[in-house]
């Protein structure tokens, strides 16, 4: 009997020892699906640094090219195989995922306290917070500082000054604007910025378009938006529809074009292309200087799956705490993007002139976050048609059809 008890004690002790040893050598593995390819290298470095800590959690990073990643992610979500952590934009699908209970509410997580309240506010939905950002994005006109100084060109403060500046640049034999309209999102985002500036009450009016009470042609300010696109095309390089994002950045970085309208999310690629290049950013000006504002949203927001085991959820918390402290510091400082994290402020000299707009609240969210994702592809095609033909009437019809054909039940910003 004594022998049996002794044997059982030995077995129990050995099991405990092996279990402990196993815990030390086998970290909890979690998956981080990075859908936005443009920050691939920075995120990889953060994940590698985290894994090097050997703190019992191992992050497996998956990063695919942009177009592929969203398709793969959509497929996985359809099969309820939601990655443990992934980045996603505020969009119709995101809220659908929340409604289906696929995402964890992060409102009470300890790392949520790192986020600036203004940024956190944008992430609220139905009383919860289902994504947390690292940066704040903005839409602006990037310009070549040296070129401007050399020719004595001033940063425009009104729309009229902007076109006057374009005339001067063109007269100097330089392409005023680098356009990359082949990548539909480039022009689509920029035009949304214009809609925010020129179309008052756009949310309410888009709702009317959807319900058949109004057409895009009847929307106040839309005429001006369309004419600005036509005018911009006149000052862009030849065949803007033959240029995608990379070619657009190359034109600007190689000093073949003086200005480059795009979002802060492209800064990482621009910096990588020509690290020593001195550029500044100004907001696309409204008719009157005091009406100028620009589109700004949260950047690189991360979501967490709601279907995690207790062990995995704890491991995700460890990584997220790192991601929103040391990781965020590296992410923001490397990309020099406006910070959504308290206490982390990057070198802002490139977009210093925009900071006061943030302070004064002269920013607005991307209109397409009013649940028009299903219309986005057709809206982009309508814009490409406008760039190609300059036919404003056709653009209005196509844009109206894009919204109506999408058959969205609601049109609102939750």
């Amino acid at each position: 009997m004594k022998k049996l008890v002794a044997l059982m004690m030995v077995v129990t002790m050995l099991t405990g020892v092996f279990a402990f040893a196993n815990a030390e050598t086998e970290p909890v593995e979690i998956e981080f699906f990075q859908a936005t390819y443009s920050h691939a290298e920075v995120v990889e470095k953060i994940v590698n640094d985290f894994n090097a800590l050997n703190n019992g959690v191992r992050v497996n990073l998956i990063c695919l090219p942009d177009d592929t990643s969203y398709t793969v992610l959509a497929n996985r979500i359809q099969n309820r195989d939601v990655p443990d952590i992934f980045d996603y934009e505020i969009s119709q699908e995101l809220y659908d995922m929340v409604d289906m209970g696929l995402l964890a509410d992060l409102a009470d997580k300890p790392y949520a306290k790192y986020i600036k309240p203004s940024a956190l506010e944008q992430c609220e939905y139905n009383g919860g917070v289902y994504l947390l950002p690292i940066t704040v994005s903005f839409m602006g006109v990037f310009y070549n500082k040296d070129m401007f100084a050399e020719h004595g060109w001033e940063v425009p403060t009104t729309e009229a000054e902007f076109w006057e500046l374009c005339e001067q640049i063109q007269a100097a034999g330089i392409t005023p604007i680098a356009a990359g309209d082949k990548t539909g999102s480039n022009i689509a985002h920029w035009v949304q910025n214009l809609i925010g500036i020129y179309c008052p009450h756009y949310v309410k009016n888009f709702q009317k378009v959807l319900q058949g009470e109004m057409t895009i042609a009847e929307m106040p300010g839309m005429d001006e938006v369309a004419n600005i696109v036509v005018q911009r095309t006149r000052f862009a390089q030849e065949d803007p529809l033959g240029y995608g994002t990379d070619e657009q950045i190359t034109l600007f970085a190689n000093q073949e074009a003086a200005m480059y309208p795009n979002g802060s999310w492209r800064m990482a690629r621009l910096n990588a292309k020509e690290p020593a290049f001195e550029y500044g950013v100004f907001p696309f000006p409204a008719k009157k200087a005091n009406e100028t504002a620009f589109m700004s949203d949260i950047g690189f927001p991360l979501c967490v799956s709601a279907a995690l085991t207790e062990e995995k959820a704890a491991a995700v918390d460890v990584f997220m705490d790192y991601m929103y402290s040391e990781g965020a510091k590296y992410f923001i400082e490397t990309n020099n993007l406006p910070s959504a994290i308290k206490g982390i402020e990057p070198d802002t000299h490139a977009y210093e002139s925009l900071l006061r707009y943030f302070d004064e609240g002269r920013v607005f969210s991307m209109p397409s976050t009013c649940r028009w994702d299903a219309a986005y592809a057709d809206y982009t095609s309508a814009l490409q048609e406008l760039v190609m033909t300059g036919d404003v009437g056709v653009f209005f019809d196509e844009f109206t059809n894009a919204l109506v054909d999408a058959g969205m039940p609601t049109f609102y910003r939750p």
Partner: protein, 291 residues
């Protein structure tokens, strides 16, 4: 039953089961989704009957999409067979044929993304600079950026990879044509074109049938080149039916509708292949000997 026959039956049924699981069941699932309003994400799939198919017929863009698909497929078919045959005939006249064949086959080995990037640069810089210096208005602008030329420009980039494959097959087939037949035709006074038309072409008809099927399949289902080079643009100019299936399913969250288009595409493909098969069979019945 002999052991051999039992083995064959086991292998056959194993293949049939694999096909059922990986091909037929997904096809049936896809077909059933085409009768729903599923958005690709939600748990609910509401049955909508033939609504998606009715909407497809009413879709004002459907005709335009079919026309783009037709242009693309016809360009691919004519280009693959035409260039493939022409170059193969030239090769037959050359010495060191295998060396040339290897060189010509090289593009087929490259990844399609490499070819796309290469052709993008050709369309964006190389061709316009030639067009400008020689005053050729057709190529002075980027062909990918023009609505009328974009689909042909994409098709040419695809042909660059397809034609070498066709050359390999046609050339091998042409080499197999009996020299006695050609010598006899020559002795009877047939010229080069007559030899081609009455001897070589009929003898290589089977190979052409294979290439035709491959080219049609490629034309109807190509998406990678379009996604990389134009993303369906400019302004929908390169949106083929297959691309639209992808766009509706993944970009517009209309999975049910996208799959209804997919079903139409599948039926169209079957129809075309039946027509090809019937044509080749008729040739056989007409007494044309096929290698």
């Amino acid at each position: 039953m002999s052991k051999y026959k039992t083995g064959v039956l086991i292998i056959f049924f194993a293949i049939l089961i694999a096909f059922t699981i990986f091909v037929y069941l997904p096809v049936i699932d896809g077909l059933s989704i085409s009768f729903t309003d599923w958005n690709g994400l939600s748990f609910d799939r509401n049955y909508v009957g033939f609504d998606n198919y009715v909407n497809l017929v009413r879709d004002r863009r459907f005709g335009e999409t079919m026309l783009i698909t037709l242009r693309y497929t016809v360009t691919i078919v004519i280009g693959t067979i035409g260039f493939g045959y022409f170059v193969s005939l030239l090769l037959l006249q050359m010495k060191k044929q295998n060396v040339y064949l290897s060189v010509l086959f090289f593009p087929h080995l490259l990844m399609s993304v490499v070819g796309c990037i290469l052709w993008e640069q050709i369309y964006n810089g190389f061709l316009p600079s030639i067009g400008k210096s020689l005053g050729l208005s057709l190529i002075r602008r980027n062909l990918l950026a023009q609505k009328d030329t974009a689909i042909f420009a994409v098709a040419i980039a695809d042909l660059w990879r397809l034609v070498p494959y066709a050359i390999l097959l046609i050339f091998t087939s042409l080499r197999a044509v009996s020299l006695d037949l050609i010598d006899t035709a020559e002795m009877e006074g047939a010229n080069k074109f007559q030899i081609l038309w009455h001897v070589q072409l009929p003898q290589t008809l089977s190979t052409l049938g294979i290439i035709l099927t491959t080219a049609v399949t490629h034309g109807l289902t190509a998406i990678d080149t379009i996604l990389i080079m134009t993303g369906g643009g400019p302004a929908r100019a390169t949106e083929t039916l297959y691309f639209v299936v992808y766009k509706n399913s993944f970009m517009r969250q209309k999975f049910g509708y996208g799959l209804a288009q997919g079903v139409i595409l599948a039926l169209l493909s079957v129809l075309i292949f039946v027509l090809i098969d019937m044509t080749l069979n008729r040739k056989r019945m007409d007494g044309v000997e096929i290698v």
